[in-house]
């Protein structure tokens, strides 16, 4: 019982400290700037961006693909590791579920930001054609958001019940937890429905998560352009999304561990495991990268050659090689060593991976658009190049800070680590120990 109280006390949500308040204020200020920039875009139109006839997808779509990629982590840690019986990942499930929800919400928002006339969004549902991958993306994102919310909410039911009791001296907060717990008592019937539902969701989220990434890849692959014309794009996107998602989890878990003093629950062991997992995911993604660039480079059709030249030795070469080396190769090498899998190195590598993943999406979107099969002719000189305007950057950074704000605010009221599951695992350990002692 003493352990139980300690766990609840350790894991119950806490008020923001000084740095927490500074962090939230900073994110709110960035979000406010982004909202002002978006107001400018709404009133003046997309002309405030540098997107033109050729670079018709710019930083917004790169950012959208990044968010979609990050959201895959919900299915990786929660579903795949849960179903494969990897119990060590229990403390990481809530973190990955919250990241997935925040990322998918911002992915949807980013698409609306990318629209010149967002008030016409409803036309997608009225006049949308099921033949178009754009509609598939809208449908699958909506579905994935709903599943992610359910997968976040179901495991929280017992925790809400625990928190209701824990915060009984704060009636208002306790009342909210009570409502959210849906009168959870933990009886056999409830536990049976609860387990069955989580299992169903864990199974269901995997094909939908694969679907969202494949459909997003098809948005590109079904368009006949150098660099996108690939049947490899679906698995290539999924592999990249796993890397980005795992990088996001290790970064966020390090910060939360520090901020909420969770060293007893998120241990070096978890960083070690996630480090190893990240190595595997990076290697798989590297394999897909080799496929994606080697085959067109070998065939060297004129247009593909121009595109690859831009990436390998042209204007985008510094960015491309930094992303490949520091976003994939360096993480693999560093994480192969035990010292590299300690919390701080893993955190730093996680940041490298996430930043690299963001720029990788930029490199997938922009250079291809500037090298179409038909030559770019008879247009102003500035249309031959694309780099986002200050307002585009402000809005994009605003969406990133928006995702971080959602994560931060959710963890203000939700336990970072599932309390109920942690207690259950502890009880199971005690029982095992007792059985051993009896023998």
């Amino acid at each position: 019982m003493k352990d139980y109280d300690k766990i609840v006390q350790d894991l119950a949500p806490k008020k923001f400290g000084f740095w927490g308040k500074i962090w939230v204020t900073l994110l709110c200020v960035i979000a406010a700037f982004a909202m002002y920039a978006y107001y400018q875009q709404l009133s003046q139109g997309l002309v405030i961006t540098h997107m033109r006839d050729y670079s018709l997808w710019g930083v917004y779509i790169s950012n959208f693909v990044f968010f979609v990629a990050i959201s895959l982590v919900g299915s990786l840690v929660t579903a795949i590791l849960r179903l494969s019986g990897a119990n060590w990942a229990t403390p990481l499930t809530r973190i990955s579920e919250v990241i997935a929800v925040a990322a998918i919400v911002m992915a949807g928002l980013t698409i609306i930001i990318d629209m010149g006339r967002p008030e016409r969004f409803y036309n997608l549902f009225i006049h949308g054609r099921l033949q178009s991958p754009i509609i598939w993306d809208v449908l699958v994102i909506t579905t994935y958001l709903f599943i992610s919310l359910l997968l976040l909410f179901f495991p929280l039911l017992p925790d809400f019940s625990i928190l209701k009791k824990y915060f009984k001296d704060k009636p208002k907060l306790s009342n909210w937890y009570n409502r959210l717990s849906l009168k959870w008592k933990g009886d056999d019937r409830q536990v049976k429905i609860y387990n069955k539902s989580i299992y169903t969701l864990s199974v269901l989220i995997i094909p939908v998560a694969f679907g969202i990434h494949t459909v997003t890849a098809w948005l590109f692959a079904t368009t006949y352009r150098p660099g996108w014309d690939s049947s490899n794009f679906g698995p290539y996107f999924i592999a990249g999304a796993f890397v980005a998602g795992a990088g996001a989890v290790v970064s966020v878990m390090f910060v939360l561990r520090k901020a909420y003093h969770l060293e007893d629950y998120i241990t070096d062991f978890h960083f070690d495991k996630m480090g190893k997992l990240l190595v595997l995911l990076c290697l798989v993604y590297l394999y897909f990268n080799v496929n994606e660039y080697l085959v067109p480079a070998y065939k060297t059709t004129e247009e593909e050659a121009d595109h690859l030249k831009e990436l390998f030795v042209g204007d985008y070469a510094p960015m491309f090689w930094i992303v490949i080396v520091f976003g994939l190769i360096v993480p693999v090498i560093a994480l192969l060593f035990k010292k590299g899998r300690k919390p701080l190195p893993v955190f730093i590598i996680g940041l490298f991976v996430v930043v690299g993943a963001w720029w990788k999406r930029y490199l997938i979107v922009t250079p291809t658009l500037l090298h179409p099969f038909l030559p770019v002719e008879g247009v102003p000189k500035e249309w031959h190049h694309y780099f986002p305007t200050g307002l585009e950057w402000t809005i994009t950074i605003g969406t990133l800070s928006g995702a971080l704000l959602i994560i931060t605010l959710l963890f203000r009221y939700l336990p970072v680590i599932p309390i109920h599951e942690t207690i259950e695992e502890l009880e199971a350990k005690h029982q095992l120990k007792a059985q051993k002692n009896e023998k």
Partner: protein, 288 residues
């Protein structure tokens, strides 16, 4: 000395003013570049006139330009032109082109000369261009042989004497141009003034009809002579209009069935499960 200076300045001033006015007046009328060709299409003679002018190093069509057309009449035995007879007028269209139809009785066997003049134009300078030619005949037909269809054509002068070693073009008219028929761009007439060109049996057209053109093109002696033929042995084009069909590029009401059924089945399956999960939440809430 002063007087001399005054006189000198006055002369300079006079020439400046007078000279500049001269320039202004001379710029009012532009020189036109004329071209006149004799064209005989399906036995109907005409003059094809084109006019353009140059401004800022760019050529523009001279539109709405009126020409008067004369026929030169040889009055003495030395074949010298001594009198021109007015036979009509023509005006250029938006492309700077005009076609003036001639009467058949205005054409002689040899030594035809027609003069096209710009007269009294408020825009262009007076100018003239002439064309000289002898009359010739081009008769073409389609003949069916054992190994396929052939176009045969014969070029003769007005007295039916064959014209040998003349180059004839054979082409098939298409919507935006002409397609070469046979292996060569042009065919030279033989001693009988004849050519024979085999026609491919896989020529497509909208209704199966093929419009052939046999042409003596801009010949120095006989001008341009054209004979048109229609053959009905083309392969008729079958319309591939998919407007009423269910295709990947149709509007939502004509979505292909597989694209309609498969995604909807998947969506229904997933959302049905999600609804069951929501019901599970309700069951947990109502559990006693």
């Amino acid at each position: 000395m002063k007087n001399k200076t005054k006189i000198g300045l006055t002369i300079v001033l006079f020439f400046c003013l007078f000279g500049s006015q001269q320039n202004i007046f001379s710029q009012d009328l532009k020189p036109a570049i004329l071209d006149v060709q004799y064209l005989k299409s399906d036995g109907n003679p005409s003059l094809k006139i084109s006019a353009k002018y140059r401004e800022d190093r760019v050529f523009y069509p001279a539109t709405g330009l009126n020409f008067t057309i004369y026929k030169s009449i040889l009055l003495d035995e030395k074949d010298e032109l001594t009198e021109d007879s007015l036979i009509g007028s023509a005006t250029t269209d938006e492309a700077g082109l005009a076609l003036f139809n001639l009467q058949k009785n205005q054409i002689k066997s040899i030594g035809n000369t027609f003069i096209v003049r710009i007269e009294n134009s408020s825009v262009f300078e007076e100018d003239e261009e002439s064309v000289m030619f002898s009359d010739a005949k081009l008769s073409a037909s389609i003949e069916q042989e054992e190994d396929g269809n052939y176009i045969t054509a014969q070029l003769t002068d007005s007295e039916d004497n064959p014209l040998a070693e003349q180059s004839l073009n054979v082409s098939l008219k298409r919507l935006f141009g002409k397609m070469q028929v046979g292996e060569d761009e042009s065919y030279e007439t033989d001693e009988e003034g004849k050519i024979s060109v085999q026609i491919s049996d896989t020529l497509y057209s909208k209704s199966g009809k093929l419009n052939f053109e046999i042409k003596l093109d801009e010949n120095d002696d006989y001008g341009t002579i054209v004979d048109n033929l229609i053959g009905d042995f083309g392969v008729a084009m079958v319309s591939k209009d998919t407007f009423d069909k269910r295709t990947m590029w149709s509007p939502p009401s004509k979505t292909p069935l597989f694209a309609l059924i498969v995604p909807n089945l998947l969506l229904i399956g997933i959302w049905f499960t999600l609804v069951l999960l929501l019901v599970n939440l309700f069951k947990i809430y109502k559990s006693k």
